[in-house]
């Protein structure tokens, strides 16, 4: 007789989900599924809409990373117009995309995961929360707030508002950058960099404590995917897809993102609304790959900014050239925050950043367009087909969190095997299962294009399918 544990719902992630853990006759975990139970269907909602509206419409997929969707959507419409974004417009898109990554990573690390890292997974939940962090390590909490606030402010200053800024448009951006805005951002960057460096120093000082936990915390062999530039450096806006295997060997060195469908398949499983992308040359389910900050650092040669590269070198010295444990998403996220701040500074010091020409204009010149960029959680694909009048006939979105679907399921199974004992669900185990999912910082609102709040159920099932125990957040 097999038995099943269900965790329902997972807290401190974006969206709504449920975890079932299946036991066998001996009470051992034999399988685990991370179910995403929301459905939205943005790929259908957008059909019949003018393609120029796509950045604004698809931004509504998510209140956390609307900028990422606007960037990918605008790039897809650029492709349909057969134009390149005005160079300054492209650089300004880069800046706002980086600000999005900085604020989202700050949310994930400081607000969602730092309570576990500071107090430990077995700590009293009454303490293991953001106010507990504020009491125990107020400097860390203040740094987190400061970094996130700057990221949000940059989005607001550039885009006009924090959520769904209407500034990113096909062909570039709607308005040039004001000198005063540039100077205001540049003035704020040094303190944010210092805050990121303090957080990295704290994390590194604590890392040895987590070595044993990391060994079984979503630690397995997969491929990794991310965008890199011509020199193989991290590129969060554009470039080529690079995919490596678990040993760092390139599976594809440089793929034009427009050819994504030749390499990425999308499987559908009956137990989740979240699609399951896989690396086609390896088939399903063997073609498991990971995206996001850890994958980006694994696939790239370097980040391309000096302070972040210094930290990346230390990261690789401590963990290896290819980091396999999902636990290290936290570390990678901090390095990307530092890189993002440095890169914003570099871009804003560019000689043409205040140019008034920020938008290329054209009509529909192709019936199909693909836009790919790096969202905080990983590679984001927008693919549209339109009619002669630019009306969307078909859309396909592969969302960062979706790319990690197979990896999240495997991570949950590994943690459940390590920590589930007997037929009861207990808090430390529950939090570990949730925490391994939080490593991926999944945004289920995006990935299922779902409405509403996130929550999690955990269910333990017997071999015959009966429920032995449930926990609900």
């Amino acid at each position: 007789m097999t038995r099943t544990i269900v965790i329902d719902p997972v807290t401190r992630i974006e969206g709504h989900s449920k975890i079932t853990i299946q036991l066998d006759d001996r009470g051992e975990v034999v399988d685990a599924h991370f179910h995403v139970t929301q459905f939205r269907g943005f790929e259908r909602i957008t059909q019949g809409r003018p393609v120029h509206e796509m950045p604004a419409i698809t931004a509504r997929t998510c209140g956390i990373c609307p900028v990422s969707h606007m960037v990918a959507a605008a790039k897809a419409v650029d492709d349909i117009m057969a134009v390149e974004a005005a160079p300054t417009g492209a650089d300004l898109r880069r800046v706002i995309n980086l600000a999005q990554v900085v604020q989202s990573h700050a949310l994930s690390f400081f607000h969602l995961s730092s309570p576990d890292l500071l107090f430990g997974f077995d700590a009293d939940p009454a303490r293991r929360n953001i106010i507990g962090v504020a009491r125990e390590n107020p400097g860390l909490a203040r740094d987190g707030i400061a970094i996130r606030k700057l990221g949000q402010q940059i989005i607001e200053w550039l885009g006009g508002k924090r959520i769904h800024p209407p500034w990113i448009v096909p062909g570039g951006v709607a308005e040039p950058l004001a000198e005063e805005t540039r100077d205001r951002i540049l003035a704020a960057i040094p303190e944010a960099i210092a805050a990121a460096q303090r957080a990295i120093a704290w994390y590194k000082s604590d890392l040895v404590r987590w070595e044993e936990e990391a060994a079984t915390f979503g630690n397995f062999r997969t491929a990794y995917m991310g965008l890199v530039d011509r020199e193989g450096l991290v590129d969060l806006y554009d470039g080529w897809l690079r995919v490596i295997d678990a040993d760092g060997k390139p599976l594809e060195e440089r793929v034009d993102p427009r050819r994504y469908a030749e390499f990425i398949g999308e499987a559908v499983e009956p137990w989740t609304y979240l699609k399951t992308p896989y690396w086609k040359p390896m088939g399903y389910p063997d073609g498991i790959y990971r995206v996001g900050p850890l994958a980006r650092l694994n696939v790239a040669e370097r980040t391309g900014t000096p302070l972040a590269d210094e930290e990346l070198e230390k990261f690789r010295w401590r963990i290896g050239r290819v980091a396999g444990s999902s636990f290290h998403y936290h570390y990678a996220r901090l390095i990307e925050i530092l890189h993002g701040l440095e890169r914003i500074d570099q871009l804003l010091r560019g000689p043409d950043i205040l140019s008034k020409h920020v938008r290329s204009r054209a009509e529909v010149n192709r019936h199909e367009g693909i836009g790919v960029s790096e969202a905080p959680r990983g590679t984001l694909f927008h693919h549209y087909r339109v009619d002669d009048h630019g009306i969307v006939e078909w859309a396909n979105l592969i969302i960062a969190t979706g790319n990690n679907n197979m990896a999240m399921n495997r991570a949950v199974l590994q943690v459940a095997r390590q920590h589930v004992r007997g037929d009861r669900l207990e808090e430390p185990m529950l939090n570990r299962v949730e925490a391994v999912i939080r490593c991926y910082d999944p945004c289920l609102s995006c990935s299922t294009h779902a409405l509403g709040q996130m929550a999690l159920e955990l269910e333990l099932r017997a071999p015959d399918g009966t429920t032995l125990d449930t926990l609900t957040r």
Partner: protein, 165 residues
């Protein structure tokens, strides 16, 4: 220099849940709130604690599922401590608030813990009639907006008379 902070929050794509942001857009032009900072946000996030710590009084405006449609209520906010976080249904001792969303009491608690300032704070709630997908407020909620403005202006006026909290 401290000043009043008004935060209207909610999802403008969920009908009456957008009452807070709509109220904020009206209040931003209300002469009774001249000098106050008025924000419209989708949801409460931790970094608002910094804004709150700098304010003399904070008024949060939100839709509520508990009141009658269009009913306007005012309640004071008491800063939460670490042991008072979360409390989500279904599991005793659940850790803190889910995702990025924190409540008024937690934000005030953060302001106190991190910045040493917890101003007097109030929530002005508007009873919602419809929280389904949509960008329009229900007639009951729209009709309540002038009363919301009066309530916020009254709180801010009293708070500023009393000086920083």
């Amino acid at each position: 220099m401290t000043r009043a902070l008004v935060i209207g929050y909610g999802n403008t794509l969920r009908s009456d849940d957008g009452a807070g942001p709509e109220a904020a857009s009206i209040l931003a032009g209300d002469p009774r709130l001249a000098g106050a900072e008025v924000l419209a946000v989708q949801q409460l996030v931790p970094e608002l604690a910094l804004d709150m710590s700098r304010a003399s009084i904070v008024v949060l405006v939100d839709a509520s599922v508990t009141g009658r449609p269009g009913e306007v209520t005012v309640r004071p906010v008491v800063a939460a401590g670490a042991g008072e976080m979360g409390g989500t249904a279904g599991m005793a001792g659940a850790p803190g608030p889910s995702s990025h969303h924190v409540g008024p009491a937690e934000l005030l608690g953060l302001a106190r813990e991190l910045y040493g300032a917890a101003p007097s704070a109030f929530v002005v709630s508007i009873g919602a009639a419809d929280l389904g997908p949509g960008e329009e407020l229900s007639p009951e909620v729209r009709a309540a907006l002038p009363r919301v403005a009066d309530a916020v202006a009254g709180l801010v006026g009293r708070g500023e008379d009393a000086g920083p909290g």
